[in-house]
Each structure stands twice: as structure tokens, then as C-alpha cells.
């Protein structure tokens, strides 16, 4: 049983990264820019905010993983076909979840990131206000 578990763990480790072992050349638009500079600029900006699924700290614009190359091809093809960057991002989020975007939307999971600073500012203001109102002597004797 323990051997099996070990084997399963090993196999699971192997399954995740797709290392560049395939023998196909990169997709046409993996390393080639679009002809139209305006479209390429849109595609580039979008690709820099999409997360590579294989080398997970990088954007697909930075990654040399084959899947990232294929995702760039996908993005550039869709841009060339006239799709908006927003629609493409939504298309990918529908498949990979918010994980795939470096520009996560405001929802329950990210609310604290957006409102946290305001919350802490309010808290700090409240504390400071309390101390000033009590006056110097009272406040200092207490702490």
C-alpha cells in the first residue's frame, strides 16, 4: 500500500509540468507578432496579464513553455479575428478560473485586498482620534 502511495505521488509529480519534450515547431503566432501594430500592442498587453499554467510564476508573454506558446497563438489569433482583450480574458477565466489572470476581479476572495487598506486607514484614524481627544497626559499615563 505504501509503495503504491509512493508511486502515485511520484506519478502525480510527473504529470503536472509539461516540459518541452514534444518535437513540433512552435505554433505560428507563438513567437511571431501580428502584422498590425495596434493589434499586436493589444495582444501583448493582454498576454502580459495572463498566467502561464506550466511555469506558474510567469505570464504567458514571458514563458517558453510549449503550452504558453500555444496560448499566445490562441490570444493573437483571437485578437486578429477582432475579439476584444476583455472577451478573451473572460473566455480563459471560464476555463481556468481567476487563477489564469493577473488582473483578478473584485469578488469575495479579493475584497479584503481592495478594501483592506481603507479599513486599516479608518482603524488608524479612529485610534489616533481617540488619543488626541483624551489629551496628552491621559494617553501617556495609560500606555
Amino acid at each position: 500500500m505504501r509503495v503504491r502511495l509512493l508511486l502515485a505521488t511520484l506519478l502525480a509529480l510527473f504529470a503536472v509540468p509539461i516540459t518541452a519534450q514534444d518535437r513540433l515547431p512552435p505554433a505560428p503566432y507563438a513567437y511571431q507578432q501580428l502584422r498590425d501594430p495596434a493589434q499586436e500592442a493589444k495582444a501583448k498587453a493582454l498576454m502580459e496579464t495572463l498566467r502561464c499554467l506550466v511555469c506558474q510564476g510567469q505570464s504567458i508573454a514571458d514563458s517558453d513553455a510549449p503550452l504558453a506558446g500555444d496560448m499566445r497563438h490562441e490570444v493573437r489569433t483571437k485578437i486578429a479575428a477582432g475579439e476584444s482583450p476583455d472577451a478573451i480574458r473572460k473566455w480563459l477565466v471560464a476555463r481556468y478560473g481567476n487563477w489564469v489572470t493577473y488582473d483578478p476581479p473584485l469578488d469575495a476572495a479579493t475584497a479584503l485586498l481592495w478594501f483592506g487598506p481603507l479599513l486599516f486607514l479608518a482603524l488608524g484614524g479612529w485610534l489616533a482620534f481617540g488619543r488626541f481627544r483624551r489629551g496628552g497626559t491621559d494617553g501617556e499615563s495609560e500606555i
Binding site: R4, A8, L11, A12, F14, A15, V16, P17, I18, Q21, D22, R23, L24, A27, L53, V54, Q56, P66, L67, D70, M71, H73, E74, L92, V93, A94, R95, Y96, G97, W99, V100, E142, I143
Partner: protein
Amino acid sequence: MKKSWVLFVPLAIMGLLFGAFIYRLTVPAETLIQSQWINKPMPLFDLPPATAGVEGLKSSQLADGKPRLVNVFASWCIPCRAEAPQLEALKAAGVPIDGIAIRDRPDDVAAFLRENGNPFDRIGSDQQSSVQIALGSSGVPETFLIDGKGIIREQIQGVILAEQVPEIIAKLEAMK
């Protein structure tokens, strides 16, 4: 004086934060990205044959009333070889299996099937991973459980293990 414990609150908070950082540094977050494209219809595609002698794969063929597996694999993927016996066992149990070969060449696929057997009814060639991306799949091997209406019901990431085989047969049976 009675409020002196309050002084330790910031230290305690710092301690907790520090602990959380140490924990995440030593136990990295789960990095398996699951597909969100579940309980949704198969994306539309029409893939050419991946090798001579085996039919290609169209999304419309996946809604013929029979629950089935769609296995995303590649000849260059070493774990896919380890998965072959389990796919054979599923095939032997009467489970229809279709394949999608990722970034693969016909000769390589033929060699892979020769060495590991061919459990696939059809194999589509996805040379630019476009169907893989449309499925929300992030690696090979992955296996999707499809019901008779062509709706994706479940994604299995990584190699199917021998003990998962009966479970998969039961799940597909339940979809009938």
C-alpha cells in the same frame, strides 16, 4: 496596568503572520489548476486524425448517447505510458475511449500505440493545443468523463491509477 496584555497583541499578530509565511514557504500552495469547464458542453472542434489508420475526432461524435472518456495525452509524455494499462482495462470493461493527442506527430503517435496498445476509438490531433485550452486542461495526461449528451462531467488530472478504474466504470454507468 490591567490592560498590559494589550501590549502583546501586535507581537502576537506578527507571530501569526510570520508563522503563515514560514508555512507557505515550506508547504507550497496547490498548483494543480483544475478545469472550470465542468458540467458544460464539449467545446466545438473537428480534429484531423493523429495517425494513419485511426479516425480523427469531432465534438459532435461525443454526444451519441453513450457516456465515454476523452483522454488528453501525447506520445512524448512519459506518464501517459504508465497510464496505458489502466486505459486498456477500461477498454476491456466496455468503456468507449477517445483520445486527443497534444502537439504530436503521426509517426510518434503510431510508435506510441505500437508500444503501449491502442485503447482509443478515435484520436484527434491537437497540434496547437487549441482544444486542450478550450477544455481548460493544463497538462498531460488528463481524462474527461463525458455523459451521453456530450456534457463534460468530470476532469481527472494526471495518471489514472489502477484503483480508480472500477470507480470510473461506476461513474460512467451512472450517467447512462
